[in-house]
């Protein structure tokens, strides 16, 4: 098989070829390392590459599979981790040169579970510094670039994860999502990106940004691959105080392709905020497709939606300031100025204001739960715009000029605040060839319904099969 084709196979497709011994993990990893080498000058997806370690792991996987010790569908599949997931013996920068020499002595739970599943770690992926920004800017290791147009942002903060998965540099990547950092780059790069329910995947050993808003999750080219990753990573972890001790289903069994009878809610508030007309038209067409497949589409009202940004801002800023308070005092001048400013501004939020925000969060979550008495999922735009120029501080959204950060996070933050699962899937392209995403969100710990609807939509369309012009 052509090396480029090999790099664009999904984990599901690769696993079927690997288990039948039609291809070897060694071939797969060699192809990916060659593609990384070819595309890194354009994309800058990685901070640390692990070619020798990856080849050794691939040879081990090949031997195990030949000996009949197949570990499951992720065995021999190439993986990239955002560079804030600790991997034992591999430096972990969190996107800052301050931590250039920090080498963790243990794996985060996610990395440990991926190892058990037999994945091959190719390297650590670039990110917006300290995961604190939605564009994928990083002066220390270089900005990330969108495979669909390298002059544009890949999105952030998991920008390297977005570009690497979209360009076929990795089969699987992992991001973290505090205010949208999985879903933003996934939407801008034409990926499926799942932010699971808060507590579903362990945060242990992942550099924090905001403890109560941080969510780890997969960024892949298919919904099936998100489900495969969820199968490998889910389960209670006593090392994470927020880990939920809840049953873990087989997420792939939810991928039936059937959405008949599914109650789909479209919050009218999603279209009361600025949104590019072409994005709106594309998303409304995607919602119609779900209706044509047998789902019941209803407009719903979610007045609390408008409160999500101020409430989550107060929580995010205060928690990030607490986490990084020593760092800004000792190394402030070495932090990327916009990130430093965001971190330090949280120092001016009082304890009473933080708790007011947490009270407002209680109310917001209660109202979110009530909404799901009427519907099974909520759908709408993932982003109000397509990817913009790297470095742009303001963007045109329909008739409105607004800041890049509030624009990119306007549909993401409600689901960090309530912790409910949300996924983006490709749903079309703009006239200038840039991806548009559809967001589907569900009840807490009901990733199965979210994945089922996303997969059914994905399989009824061709958007996810398009490749960037690299």
């Amino acid at each position: 098989m052509d090396a480029t084709e090999l790099c664009y196979l999904s984990a599901g497709q690769l696993s079927r070829l690997i288990v039948s011994k039609e291809i070897s993990p060694v071939e797969v990893v060699e192809a990916h390392l060659a593609r990384i080498e070819a595309l890194e000058p354009t994309l800058n997806s990685f901070i640390t590459l692990l070619p020798d370690q990856a080849m050794a792991a691939a040879r081990q996987a090949e031997q195990e599979i030949q000996a009949g010790r197949y570990r499951g569908p992720l065995h021999g599949v190439p993986l990239g981790l955002k560079d804030l997931y600790y991997a034992r013996g591999v430096r972990n920068t969190s996107g800052s040169r301050i931590f250039d020499d920090f080498v963790p002595e243990h794996d985060c739970t996610v990395a440990a579970r991926f190892k058990e599943a037999g994945t091959i770690l190719l390297g650590k992926l670039n990110l917006h510094q300290f995961a604190f920004g939605p564009t994928g800017e990083n002066p220390d290791y270089g900005h990330m670039h969108n495979p669909w147009d390298p002059e544009l942002i890949s999105g952030g903060s998991s920008g390297g994860s977005g570009s690497a998965a979209a360009a076929g540099q990795c089969t699987l990547t992992m991001g973290t999502d505090t205010g949208g950092s999985i879903r933003i780059p996934s939407a801008l790069c034409n990926l499926a990106g799942l932010k699971p329910t808060y507590g579903r995947l362990s945060r242990y050993g992942i550099t924090a940004l905001s403890w109560s808003l941080d969510h780890p999750g997969p960024m892949t080219r298919t919904v099936e691959d998100c489900a495969l990753v969820m199968n490998a990573l889910s389960g209670y972890d006593p090392n994470d105080p927020a880990s939920a001790n809840v049953p873990v289903p087989d997420f792939t069994s939810a991928l039936t392709g059937d959405v008949r009878g599914l109650r789909v809610g479209v919050p009218k508030e999603y279209f009361e905020v600025p949104v590019d007309p072409q994005v709106e038209q594309t998303v409304r067409r995607a919602i119609d497709v779900l209706g044509e497949m047998g789902a019941t589409i209803t407009e719903v009202s979610w007045p609390a939606y408008h409160q999500a940004a101020p409430v989550s801002t107060a929580i995010l800023m205060a928690e990030a300031a607490a986490y990084h308070s020593k760092l800004v005092r000792t190394h402030g001048s070495q932090i990327y100025p916009p990130v430093r400013t965001r971190i330090e501004s949280g120092l001016f939020i009082t304890a009473a204001e933080y708790l007011q925000a947490q009270r407002a969060r209680t109310l917001f979550t209660r109202q979110s739960r009530d909404l799901f008495n009427e519907v099974d999922i909520l759908v709408g735009p993932m982003e109000p715009i397509t990817a913009h120029k790297i470095g742009a501080l303001e963007v045109q959204v329909g008739e409105t000029v607004m800041g890049s950060t509030p624009a990119l996070t306007q549909y993401t933050r409600p689901f960090n605040l309530n912790g409910f699962p949300a996924i983006t899937v490709p749903c079309g392209f703009s006239d200038n060839g840039l991806p548009i995403g559809l967001q589907l969100a569900g009840r807490p710990f009901d990733e199965e319904t979210v994945l089922r609807a996303a997969h059914a939509y994905e399989q009824s369309t061709e958007w996810h099969n398009r490749r960037p012009p690299l």
Partner: protein, 66 residues
């Protein structure tokens, strides 16, 4: 909790100093104050306007699991 103006520059600098920031770096302090007043304070004011009677804060730690 908030008046029309969220926090005076003087009070801001006092808090900055108490937080261990370098208040001698005037241009940085100006930038930080501008960011706070434009991006953080309006949200805090919006929080103040919510009716949170009988609502307790969300807490992430669940002792029943331990």
């Amino acid at each position: 909790m908030h008046d029309e103006h969220p926090m005076s520059k003087e009070a801001f600098l006092g808090m900055a100093e108490a937080s261990g920031l370098d208040v001698e770096d005037e241009s940085h302090m100006d930038e930080l104050y501008a960011y706070y007043t434009q991006n953080v304070a309006p949200g805090l004011k919006a929080l103040d306007e919510l009716d949170l009677t009988d609502v307790e804060p969300a807490m992430i730690y669940n002792l029943s699991k331990e």
